[in-house]
Amino acid sequence: MRSGYAGNESPARAESSVGAISHQNTAETFTDGAESRPLQSVGDHSVGVSLADNTLRTSVNSVSAAVGDSGDEPTAEIVTSTPTHVPNEAEDVSRPTDDQIIAQENSIRAAEAEKRPFVGIVEPLSALEEEYRQGSAVFRDKIRSLEMQYGSMRRTRGDGNCFFRSFMFAFMEQLVQNNDIPERNRVVTCIRQWKAKLVAVGFQEMVFEDAMEIVIDQLNSLGTAESLSVAQLEHNFCEPMLSPMIIMLLRMLTSAEIQRRSDFFAPFIMGMCDDEVSVEQFCRRYVEPMGEESDHVHIVALTNALLVPIRVVYLDRSTGAAMAGVGYDSAAINHHDFVPDSLGESPTPVNPRVHVLYRPGHYDILYPLTVTAANSTQIASC
C-alpha cells in the first residue's frame, strides 16, 4: 500500500497536486482523489492520484537520467549551477525544472491547507450535504444516513496531521465540556507514565518534555478557577506554536507504542510497505515526521497509548452491503471502533470517546446527536 505513498495526500493536498496538472477538479474527484490507506474498506485508487503519482515518478526519472547523462561529460557548469537543478538534454528550456514544479506544488498545497484553520468551527452536518450537492449519489445517501447518528462536525486542516489533531481536540473538548475530572486524572497520569517509556525507546527527554508539560498544564487547569474553556482550546489548537507541539507529542507517543510492541505491529507494517522496513524505520518515516498521514496502525497505537476508544466513521464510495455482509443498503455507513486492548476484555460495550469522520485521505471531528442515540442505533459495522 505504500506504493502510493507520494500520492497519499489529504484532500487538500491531493487536490492541489492534481490541480497543478489538470487544472480541473470537481468536488467529487477532490474527495475521492486522495488515496485510501487505512482499511480495505476504502479501496478507491482514482485517476487523480495516479496522475499525481506518475508526475512525481517522472520527475524522479528525469533527475536520475540527467545524472546518468552528465556522467559522460561532467562539467563544472552542472555542479556549480543552482545545486538542485540538474539539466536534462531533452528538456525544453521553457519547461519548468522538476525543482520548480515541486516548489510550485508545495506552495499550492500549503496555500490550500492554510485556507482552513487547524480546527474549524462546529458546523451542522447539512454543511457536508451541501458540499456534495453536485457530487456522487452514494455520498449523498451516506450523508443522510450519517445524519441519523451525528448532528454536527468540525473540519480540520488537511495537512497530514488531521487525525492526531481531530482526535486530541475532540478528546480534550469533551473533558472540558463535561468537566470530566476522573478521566482527566487518568489521562494525565497516563501521559506522565509515558515519559520513561519515550526515553526507553530512544527519544531524548528534551525533545518532548515541553510539549508534554503544555498538554498536561491545559488538562490540569480543569476544575480550577482558570479552567480551560472550549474557546481557549480552539485558540490553543490554532496557535502556530502550541498546535504543532501537541501533534508532535502524539506522534512520539504513537511511535513509542508501536516500537514497544513491535511484535504485535510488525505484521501489519510488513503488509503495508512494499519494501522491507523495520518497525523502527516505519516509525521514523511514517509516524514521527509532521504531515505524514495516519493509517490504521497509527490509530491502533494511539488508542492504546492513551487508552481512549475511538470510532472512525467511513464516508467513501464503498457500498455498505459489500462490507457488512448484510442486506443490500447502499447508504449503510461503515465504521470501525478502535478499542484499547485492555478495555476490549470488558463485559460491557466500550463507548467511543472520540468520533472522527474519515473521507479518503482526511479526518474531521464528528459529534453524535446524543450519546444515547449513538449507542442505541445499530449501523452496519465492518
Binding site: I102, G160, R251, R284
Partner: protein, 165 residues
C-alpha cells in the same frame, strides 16, 4: 522564549556539559542560538579519519517543525555534499520537500532530531556515501568509477583541514 530557542538552549547546555564523541558544538555568536559552529572529527576507519571539518548548522525559526541546514565551511569532497558545502541527507529534508527524487521511503526530518542526532547522521554519511542521489556529481562519479582517485582527493581535504587548525 519561543519553543525553538528553548530547545536549542537546552541542547547547548547539554552538549557543553556532556560532549558527544565525534564532534564538538557551540554557537557561532553567543547572542544567536540559531547559528551553530560544529567541528566534526573524521570518523575512525574511514577515508576521512584524522580530519577536523568545520561546519555551520542554521536553524529556522520554526525548528523543530522544520530542519536546519548544515554546511561544511572546511573543504569537503563527498558525493552527498554540494560543492558549496551544503550537506544533502534525507533527514535534513521535510517530508514534502523532494528536490532529488529521493527514495520516498528514506527517513525524513521529524521533530525528534537534535544537534546530536543530526551530527550522528552526518558522521554516518561520511562513513558510507550514498551515490544514488548525489549532491556532488563529480564526487559521486569518482567514488563509483575511480575509487583510488577519490581516496587521494579525500586525503587532500583531510590534510587541508589539519593545516587549518
Amino acid at each position: 522564549m519561543d519553543q525553538a530557542s528553548l530547545l536549542l538552549n537546552k541542547q547547548l547546555k547539554e552538549l557543553t556539559k556532556r560532549p558527544v564523541d565525534g564532534f564538538s558544538a557551540g554557537l557561532v555568536d553567543d547572542s544567536n542560538l540559531f547559528e551553530w559552529q560544529i567541528t566534526i572529527m573524521g570518523p575512525p576507519d574511514t577515508l576521512y579519519e584524522g580530519g577536523f571539518f568545520n561546519a555551520t548548522l542554521s536553524f529556522p525559526q520554526d525548528y523543530p517543525q522544520s530542519p536546519p541546514t548544515c554546511r561544511f565551511t572546511s573543504e569537503m569532497w563527498h558525493p552527498n555534499v554540494y560543492p558549496d558545502g551544503r550537506v544533502c541527507i534525507s533527514i535534513l529534508h521535510n517530508p514534502g520537500d523532494d528536490p532529488h527524487g529521493y527514495e520516498r521511503a528514506s527517513e525524513r526530518w521529524s521533530p525528534v532530531h537534535t544537534v546530536e542526532t543530526i551530527m550522528i547522521s552526518i558522521i554516518s554519511m561520511l562513513s558510507s556515501p550514498n551515490d544514488e542521489s548525489p549532491a556532488n556529481i563529480d564526487a559521486a562519479k569518482q567514488w563509483r568509477e575511480d575509487r583510488e582517485g577519490f581516496k587521494r582527493r579525500v586525503a587532500r581535504v583531510v590534510r587541508k583541514s589539519q593545516e587549518m587548525l
